[in-house]
């Protein structure tokens, strides 16, 4: 009854948008099972392209490298970005605060091509060889602003009274940071990490400029292979990656829920101990 009442025309729009977003992916994955060589006709079901994919050591290595790069760069970016957000929120002079924030936002808005080209010039000037290190450094750099933007709102939501209360009860600065601030902004940090992770995973333009010496990420490799027409092995890979991101999203959901229930537990515990002291 209730659900019937809630039906609105806006839902139709929502369904339309989701169809538009998912049909191309479904189309791609559908053809990964085709026995043919191109995406023009479906020639019957086969697993060949998946077998080809798993036998292609070079491709697997590139996938592994891409994942490793994404995890490592987003981890480092999360640490740096969180510290940065803390510093920005503690800046008292609004002029300084706003200018730092604007500088941060400019990096978010500026086109990847320009960031990539400037990194290429930068690394060349410093004689840093292109390869894993240069790609890692640039991924960290473009992920930091994202993390800052994800963490900062949580910090602003936090009321100062909580900090005052903690200090009043005799916590040191370090304790305030680790016991009060960090737990409060954890959801922001997590979403920052996952955003940085996805950005790093699907980045093409920046990586294209700074990669070299045998190190390649998935997007760059697919682009290079596309010159000869994309083989259905790539479709198979898309299928596997789609499944992987599904798992990732579900995992993220459980981690987020985990932090919430953890917090609820802490609250309950706190209530009990408070009563005990009374």
């Amino acid at each position: 009854m209730k659900s019937l009442k809630k039906w609105k025309w806006t839902n139709l729009y929502l369904i339309f948008v989701f169809i538009m977003l998912y049909v191309p992916i479904a189309y791609l994955i559908f053809y990964s099972f085709s026995a043919g060589d191109t995406m023009s006709n479906f020639h019957g079901f086969t697993w060949t392209h998946y077998q080809e994919l798993f036998a292609d050591t070079r491709m697997i290595q590139i996938v592994v490298d891409t994942l490793m790069l994404a995890l490592l760069s987003s981890l480092i970016a999360t640490i740096v970005g969180t510290l940065g957000a803390l510093a920005i929120s503690r800046t008292s002079r609004p002029v300084v605060k706003n200018s730092i924030l604007s500088l941060n936002n400019i990096l978010m808005v500026s086109p990847d091509v320009i960031i990539g080209a400037s990194f290429l010039i930068f690394f060349t000037a410093l004689h840093i060889p292109l390869g894993f290190l240069s790609v890692l450094l640039s991924h960290i750099a473009f992920s930091i602003p994202i993390v800052v933007l994800m963490v900062l709102p949580r910090l602003q939501e936090m009321s100062n009274t909580m900090l005052d209360a903690a200090r009043d009860l005799g916590s040191t600065n370090l304790q305030v940071l680790t016991r009060v601030i960090m737990p409060f902004i954890t959801p922001g940090i997590l979403s920052g990490f996952f955003m940085a992770f996805t950005y790093s995973l699907d980045d093409f333009a920046v990586t294209f400029f700074v990669t070299g010496n045998g190190f390649e990420t998935l997007s760059v490799e697919i682009y290079a292979r596309a010159r000869q027409g994309i083989s259905l092995e790539i479709n198979a890979l898309s299928g596997v990656m789609f499944l992987f991101s599904l798992v990732l999203v579900v995992g993220y959901y459980f981690i987020q829920r985990g932090t919430k229930s953890h917090k609820a537990k802490l609250k309950a515990k706190g209530a009990v101990t408070n009563e005990a002291t009374h």
């Binding site: 490298d65 010496n213 292979r225 010159r227």
Partner: protein, 357 residues
């Protein structure tokens, strides 16, 4: 906080695990430090089985890196940071790299089977005496026709493209040099013309053809032609071979008044380090049997005459991809033009593309 730290630790452990996995995968492919050869090649432009065979025979490990345009490869080598031992530029890029002093001369005494290469494909204008380069594959610019719409033999010359019966039936590859080039060729002029007046005339001639032009497209041209979308197309022989593999109604013609000849060439960039491996690989690729296997895989025309003899007769005598000697002789290789002339080509070509029928 503790949770965050433990999460970070888990991620770090995962990174270490992945790094170890990646390392063992690299080992499985045979990477062992200094024993390597860094090859930069176009995507899917060498038979992977040949690389495996080379690794087995010599013990060297080949690091294959792919690029998608001459310019991208040039920039990467020029700015340093890469350590390619061998790369495969097209002919005009060989000239450009040679002029920029980015190439290491070949040591001919270390090359065993130089005589395998046909005289027609050696000593071309972009590298006199083959001081720096060995031809890898070659091809032409020509016309693809679909025998459902065009009778075989109807297309022999560049001028046939101007016939009014092909109205709205020709697709062109999006490339300034090539489109301006065939117009020049149809007028009996050189494809490397630098005279602005002649170029203007060639452009005016192209304008007259524009009612026939259905579209000017890039790589999609292969897909369209394979799907019977157009009766005629102007494209390179390599692309034509790909189309013909997907549609048996397609045929390729090199106009008898000659065309462009393109070469992809093996060169040693100045970043090279593993010279023993380089010459081992060059000798391996020059070997007639290996070159034949590679030509069979890639499907382009091989300059290796000894290898050609090993290919099936149907391939060897295919006038589409191995045209008569006098057509080859009439054809020209693009030379690296001055930036100003390149700009003129591009401007005129852009005007042609915008010309209203």
């Amino acid at each position: 906080m503790k949770r965050l730290i433990s999460m970070a630790a888990i991620i770090l452990a995962a990174v270490l695990g992945l790094a170890f996995w990646s390392h063992s995968l690299a080992k499985a492919q045979g990477a062992t430090g200094d024993n390597t050869l860094n090859l930069a090649n176009w995507g899917d432009y060498i038979d992977p089985a040949l690389i495996k065979k080379f690794e087995k025979q010599t013990g060297y490990h080949v690091n294959l890196e792919t690029f998608d345009s001459n310019e991208a490869m040039y920039t990467k080598i020029q700015q340093g940071g890469t350590s390619y031992d061998l790369t495969v530029p097209s002919e005009y890029m060989v000239e450009k790299m040679r002029n920029a002093k980015m190439l290491v001369p070949l040591d001919k005494s270390k090359l065993k089977d130089l005589s395998n290469f046909g005289a027609l494909y050696m000593n071309r204008s972009f590298d006199p005496g083959n001081k720096y380069s060995l031809p890898y594959f070659w091809g032409t610019l020509g016309i693809i026709y679909n025998d459902k719409f065009v009778k075989p033999g109807e297309i022999q010359h560049w001028n046939d493209l101007w016939k009014s019966k092909y109205r709205d039936n020709i697709m062109l590859i999006d490339s300034a040099r090539d489109i301006m080039g065939f117009s020049l060729r149809s007028m009996g002029k050189s494809m490397n013309t630098t005279d602005p007046n002649t170029l203007a005339l060639a452009k005016a001639k192209l304008d007259q053809m524009s009612p026939n032009v259905k579209a000017v497209v890039a790589d999609e041209i292969k897909m369209y032609m394979a799907a019977d979308e157009s009766a005629l197309a102007v494209d390179w022989s390599g692309e034509a071979a790909d189309m013909m593999a997907n549609n048996s109604h397609l045929h390729y013609v090199v106009p008898s008044e000659g065309s462009n000849l393109w070469f992809d060439n093996l060169v040693i960039p100045k970043t090279a380090k593993h010279f023993k491996a380089i010459y081992a690989f060059l000798n391996f690729l020059t070997n007639a049997k290996n070159a034949a296997q590679n030509a069979d895989y890639v499907g382009y025309s091989t300059p290796n005459v000894a290898a050609l003899k090993l290919l099936p007769k149907a391939v060897r005598n295919d006038k589409q991809f191995y045209p008569d000697e006098d057509v080859i002789k009439k054809s020209e290789v693009y030379s690296d033009l001055a930036p100003k002339t390149v700009g003129l080509y591009n401007d005129l070509y852009l005007e042609f593309k915008m010309y209203r029928k």
